[in-house]
Subunit: 330 residues, 2 copies
Amino acid sequence: MKAIIHEGKLGVAGLSYRDFEEVQPQAGEVKVKLKIAGLNHRDLFVLNRHQPSDPPLIIGSDGAGIIEAVGKGVANVNVGDEVLINPGIGWKEKTDAPPQGFEILGHPFHGTFAEYVVIPSENVVPKPEYLTWEEAGVLSLAALTAYRALFTRGRIQSEMKVLIPGIGSGVATFLLQFAKAVGATVYVTSRSPEKCQMALELGADKAINSNEDWSKALGREKMDLVIECVGAATFNKSLDQLRPGGTIVTFGASAGDEVQLNLRTFFYGQLNLLGSTMGSAEEYKEMLEFIKVHKIKPVVDQIYPLDQFDKAFERIETASQLGKIGFSIM
Amino acid sequence: MKAIIHEGKLGVAGLSYRDFEEVQPQAGEVKVKLKIAGLNHRDLFVLNRHQPSDPPLIIGSDGAGIIEAVGKGVANVNVGDEVLINPGIGWKEKTDAPPQGFEILGHPFHGTFAEYVVIPSENVVPKPEYLTWEEAGVLSLAALTAYRALFTRGRIQSEMKVLIPGIGSGVATFLLQFAKAVGATVYVTSRSPEKCQMALELGADKAINSNEDWSKALGREKMDLVIECVGAATFNKSLDQLRPGGTIVTFGASAGDEVQLNLRTFFYGQLNLLGSTMGSAEEYKEMLEFIKVHKIKPVVDQIYPLDQFDKAFERIETASQLGKIGFSIM
């Protein structure tokens, strides 16, 4: 089969589109013929974590497709079923942290940027009918990350004021859609007028240019909740917008991960800083229920053929996308 | 009446022991004849917050004594009752942050380092009989701060492993006593062998010299909860000891309040950082119930006559105390 392989060199330089050996499902596993795979920031990180001395790896965490074969003892799906993939391997219940051994598809296990992927059968769920293949294929990792950050960690409520700095990424876009579906008042920031515009179209109550004075732009409204994935560039500005007793959930640091924190301001404000990454299978199911009820669809930026991976990676590296980038697999 | 007054100069230089006008209780207030007042780190901060241009101020937050007079409409106490003072003014329910207007006795309102104090009647509760006057007079602020940090914020459970860096202060000593009463496993750190020894006598499972390698000293046991009041000197060492999904509660920064935080380590670890200060009247009542059930007594370091305030302030400034410092008021 054809796949995007990382081998021999760190970074994008180690990528190629080439033939790779197909495998068959073992007991408890299924083989999925992929129709769409989704690109994530995580795929960029993997290119620097997967070492030149490691065996060749099929990268990619997200995907949707059709069950091609099932291993012994698989009861939840049948050949021909249309499925969505939960890329989290080994985290079942909604616990405060994943258990030892938790991994995400695409490193160290082979991932979804390929014609086929073999995974545990518990990692596939029926594709929601209202989603196109493109929407289904780019959904999982970002929507699950957003769900855990906003619901399990941030405990969002309808009466809350929520700030999402750095709108535009897949996760941030889901955060906005989920928070509006709950009924919260949602503010977003971006350096890009296009991303601000998109956010307003998705229902944001206000979209602020990141370079503005946030306090002024927010009319001195203080936030119950900030969901922060930018990192160093915005972290302290985000903290400043919290009301006393407010919560900031951090799940990303694309603009730097080392921040300065004033503990005294923090504890006098009775503030909360909560770290979040990914989510469990339980949260994945809750997330799917939630998006089905609210008919939430991912914002799809662009879909590339698998062999044009270099264009897709350039787009995500330069943060040019509005929503999710995907690959179509023929 | 005699009182310790702060006026005219910042810091300890602005303190004197002198006559000050007595006032009578208004509607809803009580006048307490103090027997013991308790010294807190907060009293040190107040000396730099209360400006030379401000009117003279009686400092002091903690105290216990006998009801001398009651204003109109006071129904919860009578003249002659032995009472303890909750120094938090205007924070009733256990909310995530105090309401606007919340203040602590001793700044901006006149405090307890005096023969008499006039306060809202809701701020006095019956003195628990098993406590001496000395123990009752030094209890409130530290025990309330410890209670909120450990229970409301840290949600301590009996099966938890808890680390308390910088044992020796009043709050830290209560944290240790409360956590042991719950049944938790408790580790403490201090630079002082005497403080480590005291902690072991109070039931600490292990007392570590702060300069040791904490990971080694803890036998690589990871903590569910760290309650941190030291600040910059220990903050990152404390973070390193948390298990994935663990919680650090911060309520003090005696050794510096600016810290460097790595967001990526924080969110991959699904960690929680929760700020805490003081507590509400609801928590004050819960705390009193808790200490009565477990017969917890404050560790009393030294009791000075009120006119020897300079010795008491020197002792707390140099962190020489083991437990609480108090004043006896004749």
